[in-house]
C-alpha cells in the first residue's frame, strides 16, 4: 500500500490507462503543458505528447461533441470539464448526443467516453464554480454517473470508466483533491454500479456519496459515543445505483438517511427514498430522512452556512430514531 492524494490518484488512473491502450486520449482545457487547472494531468503531456493530451480552446460545447465523435470512431477519450458548473455548456453534447448515440442508432456503435469533472463547494469559488449537479445526468438514460470520495475509489473508478463501453461521467470533488488515502501498489479496479459499505452498523443506514462520505463517517463516530450504531454506505455510482446493497442494509437497520451535498430538492436522495418506499416500505420503522443543501445557489461568503455537514447527518439520524411509525 502507499499514501496518495486524491488528485494524484486521478493522475495515476489516467496515466495507467493511457499506457495500457493507445486509443485512450485526454481532451480538455489547459490539460496539456499546464497539467490541468487542478493538476490532474500533470506530467501526462510530457509522457504522451500533444496528440494524446489534447489541449483545446475554451469551447466546451465543441470539445464534448468532438469527444463523442472520436468515441464513436474508435477512440476512448477522457474529457476533462474544468468545473462541473461548465457542464451546463456541454448539455446538448451530453444529453442529446452522447447519451443517445447507441440506442438511437439501433446499437450500431458504442460510445466509450469518460467525462471527468470536479464538483462541489468548500473553496469559496462562488455560485458558478461550486455546484453538485449529478442528479441532472442520472436523470438521462444512457449515461453512467460515478462519484468517488476517496483516493482509492477515484483511481479504481476512473480506470473502470475508461474500460467501460458506455459513457461514464466521473464526478470528482474539488475539496477532496488534497485528501490523502492509501491505495495498493499494484493495479486494481473499482466496479461501476457497486456500493461500498464504509462502516457496518445495525441501527440506522446512512446512504451517502463523495465528500459527504467523510461527513457521514464523522457523524457515525460521534453517534457511536452515544450508543447509536450507524451503517455508512458509500454509493460510489449514482447511476445505475446499487439497490441491492441499500435494500439489504435497510432490511437490517429499518431506518434510512440519505446525505448528499447537492441541493436536497429533486436530488438523488429523492430517488433513493422513493425506490425504498416503493419496493421495501414494510421494512421501514421510521420515515426516510434526507440531508442536502438548501434550495439556493452556493454563496461566496456564506458557504459554511450553506454546506450540509456531519451535524446535519447526526440530527437526521436522531430524527429517524425518534419518529418511529
Amino acid at each position: 500500500m502507499k499514501e496518495i492524494r486524491y488528485i494524484r490518484a486521478i493522475n495515476e488512473a489516467m496515466k495507467e490507462e493511457m499506457e495500457r491502450d493507445e486509443n485512450v486520449i485526454l481532451i480538455g482545457e489547459d490539460v496539456g503543458v499546464p497539467g490541468g487547472s487542478f493538476g490532474a494531468s500533470r506530467g501526462l503531456y510530457d509522457l504522451f505528447g500533444p496528440e494524446r493530451v489534447v489541449d483545446t480552446p475554451i469551447s466546451e460545447a465543441a470539445i464534448t461533441g468532438l469527444a463523442a465523435g472520436a468515441a464513436a470512431c474508435g477512440l476512448r477519450p477522457i474529457l476533462e470539464i474544468m468545473f462541473m458548473d461548465f457542464m451546463a455548456v456541454c448539455m446538448d453534447g451530453i444529453v442529446n448526443q452522447i447519451a443517445k448515440m447507441r440506442y438511437m442508432f439501433g446499437s450500431q456503435n458504442t460510445v466509450p467516453i469518460v467525462i471527468r469533472t470536479p464538483s462541489g463547494a468548500g473553496l469559496n469559488a462562488g455560485p458558478q464554480h461550486s455546484q453538485s449537479l449529478e442528479a441532472w445526468f442520472a436523470h438521462v438514460p444512457g449515461l453512467k454517473v460515478v462519484m468517488p470520495g476517496t483516493p482509492y475509489d477515484v483511481k479504481g473508478l476512473i480506470k473502470s470508466a475508461v474500460r467501460d463501453d458506455n459513457p461514464v461521467i466521473v464526478v470528482e470533488h474539488k475539496a477532496l483533491h488534497a485528501l490523502k488515502g492509501s491505495i495498493p501498489e499494484e493495479e486494481y479496479l473499482v466496479p461501476i454500479g457497486k456500493a461500498d459499505v464504509k462502516k457496518e452498523g445495525a441501527d440506522v443506514t446512512v446512504v451517502t456519496v463523495s465528500k459527504m462520505v467523510h461527513e457521514s463517517l464523522k457523524a457515525a463516530e460521534v453517534l457511536a459515543q452515544e450508543g447509536i450504531n450507524v451503517e455508512v454506505i458509500d454509493l460510489l455510482t449514482i447511476s445505475p445505483w446499487d439497490r441491492e446493497t441499500v435494500f439489504s442494509s435497510v432490511g437490517k437497520t429499518h431506518r434510512l438517511v440519505i446525505a448528499h451535498e447537492a441541493v436536497k430538492s429533486f436530488g438523488i436522495g429523492a430517488e433513493i427514498s422513493a425506490a425504498v418506499c416503493e419496493e421495501i416500505m414494510d421494512e421501514l420503522d421510521a420515515p426516510v430522512m434526507r440531508v442536502g443543501a438548501p434550495y439556493v445557489p452556493v454563496p461566496f461568503s456564506l458557504e459554511k452556512a450553506y454546506l450540509p455537514n456531519y451535524g446535519d447527518i447526526i440530527a437526521a439520524v436522531k430524527k429517524t430514531l425518534e419518529r418511529t411509525f
Binding site: 486520449i25 496528440e51 483545446t56 480552446p57 469551447s59 460545447a61 465543441a62 470539445i63 464534448t64 461533441g65 468532438l66 469527444a67 463523442a68 465523435g69 472520436a70 468515441a71 464513436a72 470512431c73 474508435g74 477512440l75 446538448d92 453534447g93 442529446n96 448526443q97 448515440m101 447507441r102 440506442y103 438511437m104 442508432f105 439501433g106 446499437s107 450500431q108 456503435n109 458504442t110 438514460p141 444512457g142 453512467k144 463501453d165 458506455n166
Partner: protein, 319 residues
C-alpha cells in the same frame, strides 16, 4: 481538374433523380399517414449531396441533418432498409429507433443525422480527429444548413479543425431559409463561406449546379485527404417546400418559391446532358421508370416489414 467521364455524369444525374423521386414519394406516403412523426424533404437541394458524396469512399465519414435523406442516399444507403427505418420498422438501419431524423449506417460511415441544429458539427469534427489520430486516411464530410452557422458549435468546431488541420470538409447547404425565417433576418452577411476567414480556413461559395459543386468538393476533399486541412464549402441551394412536410410556408413570398423552382438543379443538368448527347430523352425516361420501380419496391418492402416488438423497448440501452 479533369472533366468527369460520361459514366460519372450519368451516375450524378441518376442519384439526383433517385433523391428527388424518393422525396416526392415520401411526401405522398407521409401525407397518407403511413409514416408517423414528421419528415423534412430536400427537394431542390439534390445536387449537393450527390456531387460531394461522389468523391467519398464507403469508409469515409459523413454527418448530416434533419433534412438528411439526400445525404444518406448519396452516400449509398440501401433503399429498402432506408425506407424500412422511415416507416419505423424493426429491420431499418436503427431498428425503428431513429426514423427520418437520425438515420445512421455505420457500415457506410454515416455517423447519424442530427435533430439538433449544429449538433452534428462537433461530432463530425471528432470523427475527423479520430481518423487523423489513427492515420487511416479517411475524410469526413459534415453537412448542415446556413442556420447552423449561427450556432456556437459551428464556430468552435471550425476553429479546432483549422488549428489541428483535420481532414474534414464542412458543407453548408445555404437554401436561404432557416426553418421559417429568411437568411437576411439572421445574418449580417450574404456568403456563409466568408465565415471561414475567421478560422484561417479556405472558404468557397458555389452555385446549385451539380458540376460546380462537384469541382469544388473534389478540390476540398482532395485537400483534406492530403492532410492540408479543412474547407468550408457553401452551396447557394434552394428549398422548394416547407421546413417540414405539411408546412404551408405562409411566411414565405410566393415569388421566392417560384425563383427556387426555376433554379432546378436536376432539370438544368438533364438539359445539359441531353444537349451534349450524354443521355437521350429515351434514356432519361427509361431511367426515371427504373428509379420509380426501385422506389415502389422499397415502399412495399417497408410496408411489409414488421414493427419492433414492445419487448425490445429496453434492449441495448447500455453496451
Amino acid at each position: 481538374m479533369r472533366k468527369p467521364a460520361k459514366k460519372k455524369l450519368i451516375q450524378l444525374y441518376e442519384r439526383m433523380v433517385i433523391i428527388r423521386k424518393v422525396e416526392e414519394r415520401l411526401m405522398e406516403v407521409f401525407s397518407k399517414g403511413e409514416i408517423p412523426g414528421f419528415i423534412h424533404v430536400c427537394i431542390g437541394q439534390e445536387a449537393t449531396p450527390v456531387a460531394v458524396c461522389s468523391w467519398l469512399k464507403d469508409s469515409d465519414y459523413m454527418s448530416n441533418t434533419h433534412r438528411g435523406h439526400g445525404h444518406a442516399l448519396a452516400k449509398g444507403i440501401d433503399l429498402n432498409l432506408f425506407m424500412a427505418e422511415l416507416f419505423g420498422k424493426k429491420n431499418g438501419f436503427c431498428r425503428g429507433r431513429s426514423g427520418s431524423m437520425h438515420l445512421a449506417d455505420r457500415n457506410l460511415g454515416i455517423l447519424g443525422a442530427n435533430g439538433i441544429v449544429g449538433g452534428g458539427i462537433p461530432i463530425a469534427t471528432g470523427a475527423a480527429f479520430a481518423a487523423s489520430y489513427k492515420k487511416t486516411g479517411q475524410v469526413t464530410v459534415c453537412f448542415f444548413g446556413e442556420g447552423a452557422t449561427n450556432e456556437g458549435t459551428f464556430h468552435e468546431s471550425l476553429n479546432i479543425a483549422s488549428l489541428r488541420k483535420l481532414p474534414i470538409v464542412y458543407v453548408c447547404e445555404n437554401n436561404g431559409w432557416a426553418e421559417f425565417t429568411s437568411q437576411a433576418v439572421h445574418m449580417p452577411i450574404r456568403d456563409v463561406a466568408d465565415r471561414a476567414s475567421a478560422y484561417n480556413m479556405t472558404g468557397t461559395t458555389v452555385s446549385n449546379k451539380v458540376l460546380d459543386i462537384y469541382k469544388a468538393a473534389g478540390e476540398a476533399i482532395g485537400r483534406a485527404r492530403k492532410g492540408e486541412g479543412p474547407t468550408l464549402l457553401e452551396v447557394k441551394s434552394t428549398r422548394w417546400h416547407g421546413h417540414f412536410v405539411g408546412d404551408a410556408q405562409k411566411y414565405r413570398p410566393e415569388e421566392d418559391v417560384k425563383t427556387a423552382k426555376q433554379q432546378d438543379c436536376i432539370a438544368d443538368f438533364e438539359k445539359k446532358l441531353v444537349k451534349e448527347k450524354v443521355l437521350s430523352k429515351t434514356e432519361v425516361r427509361k431511367m426515371g421508370e427504373s428509379v420509380h420501380k426501385r422506389i415502389e419496391t422499397a415502399v412495399e418492402f417497408a410496408r411489409e416489414s414488421p414493427f419492433p416488438d414492445a419487448s425490445e423497448l429496453m434492449d441495448d440501452l447500455y453496451a
